[in-house]
């Protein structure tokens, strides 16, 4: 054991300075949510909407197209599974790949594409100061593919080292402030999920991690699978992504704690 301690010390500090200071967040090369550029969108094409596997992109009804500024598409990033099919199908570069991943949002409508970005955001529910540097999380897997779990487990590796931010995972819902849910909520997990929420002391909050928890994802509906958390539990933070990378999860948690601002408005990141 002393040998391991020595080895660990010899490795030096492996933790990324981000998000507390400028520095690499570990996501170099990451391809995130596709960006929409309505100026490039042509009137005759619906290739992106046709290939979208989760109906995140739909054609806006003709009557509403008139003003032209919002483009022809309704895009719900809360449904996007980041498969990039739309960016490949688009012949005019109206949908392009991007590195955008900080999609944590307090309101579901912040994930829906609008132009210009909404500026009139009502402030979210104020959380007490005391949570800001000591947040305890209970995670529930409500039927995910294990991709989101893999990224949540990565949060405690030395690179992200979530503990240093005063954020901890706890075994019991009794000690938890925040319920973090992954998966589309399968029929069989509905009762255990609700029971976990009921076991939490108030005040309590809920975060939907991953597109499945936000809207159902690729497995939505059918005989066994649900439509995400809406209608099941009150959601305080939505973070779509398939899966959201660890930096996106950290950003959403820091945003929940009001330590960083929300970056997504009208389905776009502030630049």
């Amino acid at each position: 054991m002393p040998l391991w301690t020595l080895l660990g010390l010899m490795e030096g500090k492996q933790t990324a300075p981000w998000p507390l200071a400028e520095g690499a967040d570990g996501q170099a090369g990451f391809i995130g949510m596709p960006r929409y550029n309505p100026a490039n969108c042509t009137d005759v094409c619906q290739a992106c909407a046709d290939v979208c596997p989760t109906r995140a992109i739909t054609m806006r009804p003709t009557a509403e197209k008139a003003d032209g500024k919002d483009g022809r598409l309704d895009i719900d990033y809360g449904r996007c599974v980041v498969c990039q099919l739309c960016t490949e199908a688009c012949p005019t570069e109206a949908m392009t790949p991007s590195s955008d991943w900080a999609f944590g949002a307090q309101r579901r409508e912040d994930l829906i594409w609008r132009t210009p970005p909404l500026r009139d955001r009502a402030p979210g529910k104020r959380r007490t100061q005391s949570f800001r540097r000591s947040l305890h999380i209970r995670h529930v897997d409500a039927g995910s593919c294990n991709g989101c779990e893999s990224e949540l487990q990565a949060l405690n590796n030395p690179f992200y080292n979530l503990h240093r931010l005063g954020i901890f995972f706890t075994a019991s819902p009794r000690f938890a402030d925040l319920l973090l849910v992954t998966g589309p909520v399968t029929n069989a997990m509905l009762t255990p999920l609700r029971a976990t929420y009921e076991a939490m002391p108030e005040p309590r909050w809920v975060m939907a991690i991953g597109t499945c928890a936000v809207s159902g994802g690729v497995a939505e509906g059918g005989y066994a699978s649900g439509h995400g958390l809406d209608g099941v539990l009150p959601v305080d933070v939505y973070l779509p992504g398939c899966p959201p990378n660890p930096a996106a999860i950290i950003h959403a948690l820091m945003m929940f704690l009001e330590r960083v601002p929300q970056r997504v408005k009208g389905g776009q990141l502030d630049q």
Binding site: L152, Y160, P192, Y223
Partner: protein
């Protein structure tokens, strides 16, 4: 492999065929049901025959009460129970005729895979008291611990029942399929290309293995050839997936033996591996790159990946050497959760689990796909069958994977990475891959419009979860977490 060349068997011939397969060193792989027409159901059995690269496929049209093969091939027990739950086909003389996928308290109007089942009608779950095995004799000291489905830490959902006295576990029963999403049914009606996005999301940490097996099944149905460069890059992606999975596995195993620094270093290596994935493909899980007929776009690993991997390998070999010389760690692994070779075979253990119990089997070498036939695939095997052997097999596989990737980088030919590939209506195909956890099969069937009529997924964790309890009965509570970690199971893959 195109599965139109299959053997048609009468229900009465099934047991005889299964017995012959067992006596000639073959092995049953899986069984599934599908509807060739809305009112006609058909069973399919997939088997390995000794010395043959081609898989044997049997077809059988079930009357009521098809003979169960579970007494000849115990591993078939779960396959048959799944078919009963989802298709309503009954098997006669099944030794364990209970629900598997659907929980007690679910009473669908008709089996959910029946064409009569209304689309998007959710199954209703009535809360029922769970039936547990009855104990006979002096039971006053036996305690029952139901654990889950929401467990401690960030873990997948599943419920486990422990009957124990003090530290000793008398009986252990996992209750899975809380995460059953009905993924196979979600494929129905999709185009072949549309299914890739779904296949990548069946088991997140097996995205490449699933997408690859799926694509290869479609390519078999379409009878098309994937360009050589794409074949090599597919090997590269599959081995990158094995790498981050196995590195994380070692870190997590250290977590259960409370070797804290070892845990941190293993998970840090896994993180580095995932960051290499991002640099290579833009996805930490290597998603959005595979497609029918090859790859969606070319990758450029030349010039940087080799050096990065070599640096990773050097750090890994120091780490592995220290793990293998830490007594406190090894003491917890050696003799823990021994899986007997006979049990491993009968119950259908696969991947590193069966290789740690003395079976020298690996789809990459025995039934080569992508470019594996042109590459030297080394298959590490151990005999001991304990947690240490399972860790050692994976440790050797890390080195083997890195060596394979380096080889691919040397040999990588230039050329296109995708080919036109269109499966005709009514065609069918079987695809497979050796995922980090073992044997993965996809069987696909197209309808007369050329859209998917049925996709069957046999994931490695479905097999290994069936095996796992056999190593828990009679063990002790302190070893349970270590034993479970040493199997490296996913529940998402099993439950689908």
């Amino acid at each position: 492999m195109n599965i139109s060349q299959s053997t048609s068997l009468e229900p009465g011939q099934l047991r005889e065929a299964a017995t012959r397969l067992r006596d000639t060193d073959g092995r049953m792989q899986m069984a599934y049901a599908w509807y060739p027409e809305p009112d006609r159901i058909e069973l399919r059995y997939v088997a390995t025959e000794a010395g043959r690269q081609e898989f044997a496929i049997w077809r059988c049209v079930p009357p009521n009460g098809v003979p169960s093969l579970a007494t000849i091939w115990p591993l078939m027990g779960w396959h048959e129970r799944e078919i009963t739950d989802l298709f309503g086909v009954d098997f006669s003389e099944h030794p364990q005729a209970q629900r598997l996928v659907l929980h007690d308290g679910v009473n669908p109007i008709c089996p959910p895979f029946s064409p009569k089942y209304p689309l998007d009608l959710p199954l209703q779950h009535e809360p029922v008291r769970q039936v547990v095995p009855e104990l006979v004799g002096a039971t006053a000291d036996v305690q029952l611990l139901p654990f889950g489905p929401v467990r401690a830490d960030v873990l997948e959902s599943g419920e486990f029942l422990f009957f124990y006295i003090g530290e000793a576990i008398l009986h252990y029963q996992p209750r899975l399929f809380f995460k059953h999403r009905g993924m196979e049914k979600r494929f129905e009606g999709l185009t072949a290309a549309g299914g890739v996005v779904l296949a990548e999301r069946v088991s997140g940490v097996g995205s490449v293995a699933h997408a690859l097996a799926y694509c290869q099944a479609i390519e078999a149905a379409a009878n098309c050839t994937v360009p050589l460069r794409a074949c090599f890059l597919r090997v590269l992606l599959a081995e990158m997936e094995r790498l981050y999975n196995h590195l994380y596995y070692l870190g997590h195993l250290c977590h259960t033996t409370t070797l804290k620094v070892g845990e941190a270093q293993g998970k840090l290596l896994a993180e580095r591996s995932k960051q290499l994935n991002t640099k290579l493909t833009g996805s930490r899980f290597l998603r959005s790159i595979l497609t029918i007929g090859g790859l969606r776009r070319d990758l450029s690993p030349k010039g940087w990946l080799s050096a990065e991997l070599e640096a990773l390998r050097e750090d890994y070999s120091v780490y592995a050497r220290h793990l293998e010389s830490t007594d406190s760690h090894l003491d917890r692994l050696i003799t823990t959760g021994v899986l007997d070779q006979r049990v491993a075979f009968d119950q259908g253990a696969t991947g590193p689990i069966q290789r740690a119990s003395g079976f020298d089997r690996d789809l990459r070498r025995d039934h080569p796909y992508a470019a594996y036939g042109q590459l030297p695939v080394s298959v590490p095997v151990r005999e001991a069958g304990d947690a240490h052997a399972r860790a050692q097999v994976r440790m050797d596989e890390i080195n083997a994977s890195i060596a394979l990737i380096q080889r691919v980088l040397l040999l990588l030919p230039d050329g296109p990475v995708s080919a036109e590939c269109k499966a005709p209506p009514k065609s069918e195909g079987l695809g497979w891959s050796e995922s980090p956890r073992g044997t993965l099969f996809y069987a696909v069937h197209f309808d007369d419009r050329g859209t998917l009529a049925r996709v069957k997924i046999k994931s490695p964790s479905f097999s290994n979860w069936r095996v796992f309890p056999f190593t828990v009965h009679g063990s002790n509570m302190m070893d349970y977490a270590i034993n479970e970690a040493s199997f490296g199971l996913t529940i998402a893959g099993c439950d689908r």
